[in-house]
Each structure stands twice: as structure tokens, then as C-alpha cells.
């Protein structure tokens, strides 16, 4: 063994003289890196460097214009967690938003995907109808629903007219502190859940039918089939979407900004809308960057939970 190992090149330069090693190195290392380098350079330029800059800016009092930047250490974070009451409120709204989106669209999507997976004729039509809202731009959906929820000319007012009621359904859903956030979540969900359903449906269709046959032979009812065959069969996509939705919940911005801009009285304010206002209206870009970093930390924490669970042997 010792003799053989003596003949083997050990240093990088010795290896370079070895024709076989050179070819292997070229094929397995150099060429892949050459191919990936354009993407890597772009990624570094548009993601990694701005991310590092963002972290740095969060430690400054940068106003968002010019280059007058003063290092303030963790001052922005201290203010965020210990002084800014509105941040706590926004964080609570984000958590409420996450709970809503981890339940309502998942239940809806699972239920409808299960139903649709059993439809043999015309299934494509149903799928298309339920998926259509997802392809609408959020600004279009927001405008449609803003009008539909209008207390004077919306569907609530129409229902009141038909039923001879006054102000029972025709209320200012987006104008009340107790209903604003959930109304926006409802609208966002109206657009989103169809996408989730299509993903679940595709996953369900990849489950081998013999598993259902076996379950039937064992005397399983519909619920037991769903619980013991369907859910385990779609678990990877289900868990992945759980993770993605949890992360997206901290990035919620568009519908809230389009419909209420965080109002009334901050009732629908979330971290991302606060961040935008701080950076662009209040000239507190450094403080806004700190909020952005906090959102990223939350997202990282969610990913960490899923990675930990996977490492502990969960099949996800």
C-alpha cells in the first residue's frame, strides 16, 4: 500500500501533470463551474451583494437619498423591538395572516382537489374555472373586490336590498378595524387557493390507484382513504407549500397596500407595508432595511424548522 501511495500525485501541481486527473478535473470541476459562472455572477451582483448591503444599511441611519450614511450599530434593531409599538402590531398582523393562510386555503384546496380527483368527465373545466383568479394581476383583483365590498354599491348592499335589510351585509368591510385585515386576507385567498388546489390535484394524481384499491379491500371509508393514502401521498408537496406560505406570509404587501395601505388606524398594517413607508415616505431607509432583515430572519427561522424536522427523519 505504501509503495502504491508513493506513486500517486499528492499536491495540486503534481496532479496537474497527471493526464487522467487533469481530464477528470476538467470534466467534473472546471467545466461545470464555467457553465454555472454566468448565473453565479448575476446572482452575486443582484442578490448576494445587495443582501449584504441591506444588512449593512440596517446598521446605519441612511435616509434613502444620497450617500450620507452614519453607522449606528444595532440602534435600529433596538428601536424596532423595544420602542416601536407599531412594529409589534404589524408583527401580530403578520402572524394572524400566516395562521389564516396556513389553514383556510389549505383546507379549501385539499377539499376541492380531493373532489376533483374523482371527477372523470369535465374535470378540466372545473380546474380551469377555479384556477382563473390566480392568473389575474393583484391590482385587478384588488380593484374588483374593492368595488364588490363597497358598502354602498357592493354585493353586501345588493344582498341587503334583496332581503329588505339595512346595513347588515352592506358594511364597510375594509373600513372597520375589526374586519379590514381578514377582508384583505379573504381577497388574497380568493386569488391564491386555486393555485394550491392545482398543485395538490397534480400530487394526488401521481398516487398509484392500487393503494386506494388496497384501502378499499381493507374496508377503509372515504375519510380513512384521505387520511391514510391521500395525505401521505401528497405530503412532500403539502409540507413544501406549508413552508412557502409561511414565508410568504411575512412578505405580504401588495393586496394590503392596494386596498387599505395598512389602515384604518393601522388595523391592517404588516411589516412589509411599514418597511415601505419607512423607506420611501419617512426617509428612514436604514430603519426600513432593519425591518427587511428581520423579515429575512423570520423566513430563515421557518426554513430552519423544516430542515430540522426533515433531518430528524420526517418524510417531507
Amino acid at each position: 500500500m505504501a509503495l502504491l501511495s508513493q506513486n500517486k500525485p499528492t499536491t495540486f501541481f503534481e496532479k496537474l501533470n497527471d493526464e487522467t486527473w487533469r481530464r477528470k478535473f476538467l470534466r467534473n470541476v472546471l467545466i461545470p463551474w464555467i457553465f454555472i459562472s454566468p448565473l453565479l455572477i448575476i446572482h452575486l451582483y443582484v442578490v448576494a451583494i445587495p443582501a449584504v448591503q441591506g444588512i449593512y444599511m440596517s446598521l446605519t441611519d441612511w435616509k434613502g437619498v444620497g450617500m450620507n450614511v452614519n453607522f449606528v450599530g444595532l440602534e435600529n434593531y433596538r428601536e424596532l423591538f423595544f420602542e416601536d409599538e407599531t412594529f409589534g402590531k404589524a408583527l401580530r398582523n403578520n402572524i394572524t395572516w400566516m395562521i389564516f393562510f396556513l389553514t383556510v386555503p389549505f383546507i379549501l384546496a385539499l377539499f376541492c382537489a380531493t373532489m376533483l380527483s374523482q371527477v372523470r368527465r369535465g374535470g378540466m373545466l372545473y380546474r380551469s374555472i377555479l384556477f382563473v383568479p390566480y392568473v389575474l394581476a393583484s391590482v385587478v383583483t384588488a380593484t374588483i373586490w374593492k368595488n364588490l365590498l363597497n358598502p354602498q354599491r357592493g354585493i353586501g348592499a345588493a344582498a341587503d336590498n334583496i332581503l329588505g335589510l339595512d346595513g347588515v351585509f352592506g358594511i364597510a368591510y375594509l373600513g372597520r378595524t375589526e374586519t379590514a385585515l381578514m377582508s384583505i386576507a379573504f381577497i388574497d385567498n380568493w386569488q391564491f387557493w386555486g393555485f394550491l388546489m392545482i398543485l395538490f390535484l397534480a400530487a394526488m394524481q401521481s398516487i398509484p390507484p392500487v393503494l386506494y384499491d388496497a384501502a378499499k379491500i381493507d374496508g377503509a371509508n372515504r375519510w380513512q382513504e384521505f387520511r391514510h393514502v391521500t395525505l401521505p401521498g401528497i405530503r412532500p408537496i403539502l409540507v413544501f407549500m406549508f413552508m412557502m406560505v409561511a414565508i410568504f406570509s411575512f412578505l405580504a404587501f401588495d393586496y394590503i397596500f392596494l386596498l387599505t395601505q395598512g389602515g384604518p388606524g393601522g388595523a391592517s398594517e404588516v411589516i412589509a407595508t411599514q418597511l415601505y413607508k419607512n423607506a420611501f415616505f419617512r426617509f428612514q431607509a436604514g430603519y426600513g432595511a432593519a425591518q427587511g432583515v428581520v423579515i429575512s430572519i423570520f423566513a430563515g427561522f421557518i426554513i430552519l424548522i423544516f430542515v430540522t424536522v426533515k433531518r430528524r427523519g420526517w418524510d417531507i
Binding site: 434613502g64 444620497g66 358594511i171 368591510y173 373600513g175 378595524t177 384604518p264 415616505f281 426617509f283
Partner: protein, 431 residues
Amino acid sequence: MKSVKLLFAIAVLVLALAPVGAQDVTTVSMWFSEGSTLDCWGPIMLEFNEVDPSVQLEIVPQADTWNVTRTAVAGGGGPDIVRTPGPSFVYEMAQAGLILPMDTFAESMGWGDFFFDWALDLGLVDGQLYSLSDELETLVMYYNVEVFEANGWTPPDTMDELNALAEEVEAAGLTVFSHGNASWRPTNEHFVGEYWTQVAGPHKVYQALSGEIPWTDESLVGAIELLDAHMQAGWYGGGVDLYFTNDGVYRRTSLAEGSAAMNIEGSWAIRGTVDYFGESGMTWDWVPVPSHDGTDYYTIGMGNTSSINANSPHPEAAAQFLTWYFSPATQGKMLTSCLKGPAPVAIGADVMAELDPRIARLYAELSDASANDRYGYTTWTFWPPKSDVYIYEEVERVWTGEITAMEYSAGLQELFAEELAAGDIPPIPTR
């Protein structure tokens, strides 16, 4: 012989084209929001290109002009003419060295000859002129003439008269003010600023802006309490929750069609008011917003400002355009053709005579008020950015019952004191 002829022809052609090729054309760029405003303003602004063929204006339409502009300017690019939403934005850009001081242009091009003195002062940052204010604005109370006549009402002069009238309006089944903030949430600040001025008085506001008295002063807090009381009474749009969902279309149609009696809104709303009343066939008019003692106070504001980009390769040409654009002749034409709020420049009486008498009266009254110490301050022009955002965002918490007027004012005082100490306050005309 043929080649001689050919050379001669080429020489003639070169000589003929030479003056054109040698003429340097400088292009001054300006970014402007897309939409109906540009449709009307654009052709008039492009008339500048006929004044001096060597300087040409290029208008680039943008979807989100201000955010695009400040990003580009901060990155060393952007248009030659930098338009901002107000003096507080100018302050930040000037501090960052992104726009040029224009004192030499002001002197050489005679801007002081046609701008009101106080208006040029609004563009000062650390004693240097960085911006020219545009679109002089104020808030007035529009009302539906037919509704008032049918009910035998007269427009109120004082807050007490407004109180009495509001009861009658509500008894008649109408909304007092056709209002809502669903289209533009900062609408809230219009009322805060008006109530401070009309209830506490502009001198108190000036004292608070100068740091002489706090925003928790009894008179200023009282103004916020009165606004809240009016809001809770459903005067604005029919109720607090409805106010948050009423949009711009509601605001205009309900007044123009007579389901609301009045509307406190800016002079910028004249164009929309004219259009909507034109469709409904009813008549509009305006009076000053009622004050505590019946004095006609007008809050003064600026819709936007113009500056010269520090990276502009030809600031002189940009200044040349600004001189033309802010001239009383151009401003007069834009006022008569587009009902654009004029820049604070001396527009001739002949131009005003062409206007609808109601509109002409508004600008005449505003001019008179500014000359006779009856002017107040709009929040978006004279307040620093953090305080300004606080004013329109946090007042909703007063209206939704989450905090009191005093707590709101104390929060503002804390923030304002911070910005005052940092020197972030835009220039305030002294009284």
C-alpha cells in the same frame, strides 16, 4: 468631367448641410406622470421647443414618477429637471448633493421679478435656492348651490354656523361632507391641517412649527378633538367606517348629484368638480373653510417643486426651461387651458379675466390672504417627512378610538421635536 461634377455636387451638399450639422441641440429631459394631467400640460410645455431651437424639452412619461426619479437621481442618472412632491423632499436631496443650488440662475434669469418673494424662500436650503415651487394650493369648502337654495341654507362663516348647518343637513337626510380616503389615504392630513388653522388659528400653528409651543398646546389639541367629534358624528362621508371606504368617485358624484351638501377639498379638485357638476347639471360654488372667529384663513401649499439635477450635463439649458415654464405667461396659459394650479408667480389680470369667475376669485382671495397675514400652512408643504406621515396615519387611530387627541398630539410633539432638533424642518414663511 463627370468626376468634377460629382465632387462639386458633393461639396454643395456638404455646405448645404453644414449649418444643420454644426448646430448644437441641447435636450433637457423631464419625467412626468402618465395620465390626463400630462395630456393637457404636455403640449403646452412642449411649446418651449419653439422658443429656442437649440434647447429642446423632452418629456418622458413615467408610471411612478417620484420613486423612479429619486432612485435614478440617487444612482447618478435621472432627468435634468427633478420634480419632487414638496419642499421636505427637496431638503433631503439638497443635503445629499443630488440637486444644484440655483441662485446664480435666479439672479441672471430674473426669477425674482415674477416669483413672489415668500415663494422663492420656500426653495431655500441652508440659505441657497434649490427648488422652485409649483402648483399653489389651498383648501376651500365646495358646496352644491341647488341643494343650498332648495333648503334655504347659506354657507357658514364660523365653526358655530357650521355646527348648526350640519344638523340641518343631516335632518334633511344628506351627508354633510362628501368625503373618504380610500383613493388617497393622506387625505386625512387635509382636515388635520385645516382644523388646526381654522380652529386654533394660523398663528398658533406657526408657533408650533417654529418650536415656540408644543403640539400638545390646548388650542391645537382642541382642534383635533373637534375634528374627531365631527368625524364621529358622521359628517365626513356618513360615518368613520364609510369614510375609510369612500373613494374619489364617491366624493365627486355625491356632491355633484346633491346627496352631500359640502366638501372640504383642495383647489386642485376644481377640474374634477367642474367635470362632475357638468355631468350632473347642478351648480358648484365655494367659500373659505369656516373658522372659529369668521376670519377667512387660507392654508397655503405647494403641489410639487422643480430643481436641477446635480448630474445634469447642461444645467444652464435646464434653467432656461424653468425660466420659461415658470413665467407668468406660461403659467397663465396652463391655468386657463388645464385649470392647473399656478406657480406662485404674478399672473396678469387679463389672464384671470379669462377664467370662470369662481376660480379667479379663489386665486385672488388666496393672493390677498397671503399678503394680509390670513394664510395658514398645509402639512405636506411645511412639515418634515416623519411628522407628516404621522399626522395622516396616526389620526386614524384617534378616529377609531384607539388613542385620544392628546395622545396623538403628544406623539407628534415627540417626533416633531426630534426633526426640529435635526434641522429637518422645511423653510416656513415668517409672520
